[in-house]
Structure formats: C-alpha cells, structure tokens
C-alpha cells in the first residue's frame, strides 16, 4: 500500500507541476457550467435540482477523460520511463493502481470544484440533497470507469493520440450499448439472452440510476467491477509488452 501511495503522490505532483491540472480543471468547469446553463436550461426549468448539470456529464467525460488518461502509460512508454518504473521493486498491479487512483482523485477534485452549483440550487429553492449526493457519486464512478478504459488503451500504444481515439471509441460504445443503434447490430446472430446482457453493460443506464437518487449495491458493484476489469486488462497489456 505504501508503494501505491508513493506512486499516487508522484502522479499528482506531476499533474500540478505541469499545466495539465490547471488546463483540465478550467476546461472541465467551464464546459460543465456551459452545458448546464445553456443546453440544460438550469434557470429556465424553474426546478431546484441539478439534473441539467449531471445529465451532460457522460458527454463531458467522453472527451475529457481520454484527454487525461491518454498520457498514463503512452507517455511512460514513449519517454522510456516505463523501463525505469517497472524495474523498481513494485508489481505491475501497484503501478497500475497508483496511476489510476491518482487520476481518479484528480477527477474527484474537478467534481468537488463544482460544489458551488450545489449551494446555488439550495439557495434558489428546496433541493433534494440526497439525490444530488448520489448523482455526484455516480458521476465519479462513471468517470472512474472511463478512466480505467483509458488506462488500458494508453498501455496499448506509445502514441497518445492513438490512445485518445481508442479510449473515445471504446467509451462511446460502452456508454451506448443500451441503445437500439448498437443492439441492432447483434440482432439476428445473438440470442435475446446475450442482447439483454449487452444492453445491461451500458454505462449510461447505470449512471441514470444514481441520478434518480438510488444508490443500489449492484449499481456500485457494476462500476467497481468495470474499473477492476479494465485495470486488470491494463496489467495484462503491460505484462504482454514485456515479453515482446
């Protein structure tokens, strides 16, 4: 655990000593506000809730999370520091976990900085704070899932642009597996059982549960399994690279 903490500290340090943190946070906050006020009609709806704010999070993450995750491994491979890191006395799991947690905490900070909008709705009217809290949790879990996908994609390539695009595509598909557009592809050559299974994988559907104010254990479990699956995939990719 101490090793993982050391990695987390190094990663966070490098976010904040480079412009990454500043640029990311500003862009995130500006876009989050723009989406909720202009597209979401935060004031026009005359309802004291944060639905206009949260409903755009998946789309915001779709572009911003790959931008954050693309450097995770691709940069280490490109600059050669991967060799340095992986010959230190640590397991690939510790490295993968440390880098992921650092980036996830960073996304948590970005979310935390949006708290003024939460105060605003409470000032404007009677807000359902339980529902807002569960939405925040759901949003953070969703961001974590996309980040874990990005971690794996970043390990696949030494080129950050490729990592970005791969993450974007994979995230997009996993977000929307519930839509007929995707399900129709499988229609006819997979049984209904499998199609239902694929539909249930959709990240957005699971996030919507949190937005309704329900924190169900199986929804939590879904996101945690999703994260663990992609982190495990990252470890596999890294180990595989070492034998090639």
């Amino acid at each position: 655990m101490k090793t993982v903490t050391t990695i987390i500290r190094r990663e966070l340090l490098s976010y904040f000593t480079t412009p990454i943190a500043f640029v990311f946070l500003v862009v995130f906050l500006v876009l989050a506000a723009a989406f909720s006020f202009y597209l979401g009609g935060f004031y026009e709806r005359q309802i004291a809730d944060l639905q206009p704010f949260f409903q755009f999070h998946p789309w915001l993450y779709l572009f911003l999370v790959p931008a954050l995750s693309m450097r995770l491994w691709a940069e280490e491979r490109h600059s050669g520091t991967l060799e340095l890191l992986l010959t230190l006395p640590l397991t690939p799991w510790q490295a993968v976990l440390g880098k992921f947690i650092a980036a996830w905490l960073f996304l948590g900070l970005a979310l935390l900085l949006t708290v003024p909008i939460w105060f605003t709705v409470n000032y404007l009217g009677e807000a359902d704070n339980g529902r807002i809290m569960s939405s925040y949790l759901g949003s953070w879990l969703l961001a974590g899932s996309l980040l874990a996908i990005g971690s794996c994609m970043s390990a696949l390539s030494r080129n950050q642009v490729i990592a970005f695009v791969l993450t974007l595509v994979a995230s997009f598909v996993l977000m929307l597996t519930g839509l007929p557009m995707i399900l129709n592809i499988f229609d006819g050559w997979l049984s209904q059982f499998w199609i239902d299974g694929i539909a249930r994988l959709s990240l957005i559907n699971h996030f919507n549960g949190f937005q309704r104010g329900v924190i169900a254990w199986y929804e939590m479990l879904y996101f945690i399994l999703m994260i663990l699956f992609w982190l495990y995939a990252t470890v596999v990719v890294l180990n595989n690279r070492r034998s090639n």
Partner: protein, 306 residues
Amino acid sequence: MLEARSLYKSFGSIEAVKDLSFSLEKGTVLGFLGPNGAGKSTTMRMLTGFLTPSKGTALIQGYDVQADALKARRCLGYLPEGAPLYLEMTVQQFLLFIARIRNIPRAELTTRLGETLERLSLTDVAGQTIDTLSKGYRRRVGIAQALIHDPAVLILDEPTDGLDPNQKRDVRQLIRNMSDDKLIIVSTHILREVSALCNRVMIIAGGELKADNSPEGLLQTSRYYQAVTLRVDNPQPVATELSDLPEAAQVELKDHELTIFPRKGAKLLPLITNLAEKQQWNLQSLRLEEGRLDDVFRRVTTGAEQ
C-alpha cells in the same frame, strides 16, 4: 551474485539474444561490448527483469528475476538506456520518489539523499526541474537513481554517454570506488573506457557471446600485441630493412608510421632499438604496442581474420 542461464530472446523471427549463459561475482566490473543492435540492451533488460526472456532466466543474489522479481530487484540498481527520467520533477523530488519506492527508512532519507547528490555533484541542481538540465546532468541523475539504495548489483547502460571528458573521468572514478563490494555491469561503446574501468569484458555480436576475457587477455589476442610502432624521417628504406628481420611477420606503413608485427612469441623492441642505433635512423618516436581493443572488437564482431 548474478547468473544468466541460457537467456534466449526472439522478437518474431528475429533472434536478438541466442542462448547466453554466464555467472558473475562480487568485485567484478564487467564491460559489456557489442556493435549497435548486437543484443546488449536486450540482454540487460532481461537481466533486470524488464523483458521476459523467451527461454532461460537470470538470477540476482540467487533470486529469479521473473519468479522472485521483487526480491531480485531490491538488490539491483539499473540505469536504462538513454537514462529516462521524469522530466517534470526536480532532481530532489525524483530521487526522493525512488528512495521511497525503494523503502529507504524515513529517518535515513535526508542523509541518503544528501550523500547521493554529493557523490554525483548534483547538490547545486537539486532544486531544478530535470527538464532544464543538460544531458550530462541528466545522465548523472540517472546514475544517482540507480545507486541511492546502495545495491549489491549495479547495471548501467552507457553511463558515460553524453558526458564531457571531466565528467566521464568522475563517473569512472565513482564506479571504480564502488567496485570492491559490488558487481557492476557497464555497457559501453567507448573501448578505452573498458581498459580504464573493467576487469572483465564480454563482447556480443548477433546475440551471441563472442569473447569473455580480462581486458589484458583480450588485448593479447590483438595482432598489435607486442608490435612496435615507430616514426622516422625516411620510412621507405627503413621498412625494407625491417621486413628482413626474421622475427618480423609483417611491416605496415600507415600515416607516416611504421608498425612491425612480431612472429609468435618474438620480442621485437630490443632488436629494433639495436638496429636503429646501428643504422643511425633519425627516430622521432618509438613505442611498444599493448594491443588495440578496436582491432580485437572489429575482428571478434565481424568475424574477419586479421
């Protein structure tokens, strides 16, 4: 201390390293030589456990670098090729990060860091971002990182690359000072470094071990070993005269210098000095060759005869 057991590595159809076995003990400074693409870095990556061998394995202090990776790596300091570093960190932040991962106790952290900075003359730049440092400084940060935990085995891939002559000398001195109680492997393409630094030399080419010897032993296989090189005013008649010596196998004139190669076991120097005195040659310089590593290197790696 370190043992390579039939290390074999192929990338697709390319065989990078073919069945390499050796064993090294404490006090050894091994010079690892080979032309570019000979498999030097691949071998080092397998020794450090970064690359998984296709066949075979390596042991550091008895620990298998694959099966017992963490234990093996704790005894190891490694400077990878090109000295990769986290450029956005300061020297101090970077070395503290390595020290923490290496589990150096908190109480010792400051002294250990200070010592390491001092040893590599990095104290003045400790607070600078690595990004802003020159190539020579970066290389030294890479070396500092490899020895901050005082490892028993040190593997350095081109440690003096990019350093100026003074810095090269300092790093060689540092390596020599540490060599008594450590095993140090240095890969280099600077041949003079090998005789200055190492007590054992391995040359690999095409993924195979072509020579494994002491620097002196290696020099003795050079055709220049015990040859005499001299410079005179009028080399042509002197050359003719020298080639009449029964002990001389061959005389070569190159860049106004005559090199006389001895027949096996013959001692040329006294004969030539006598002759020079008797014939009153106007000698400008005269030296006995110790053998030339570049000559050995070329012969061993290309398989060319003489």
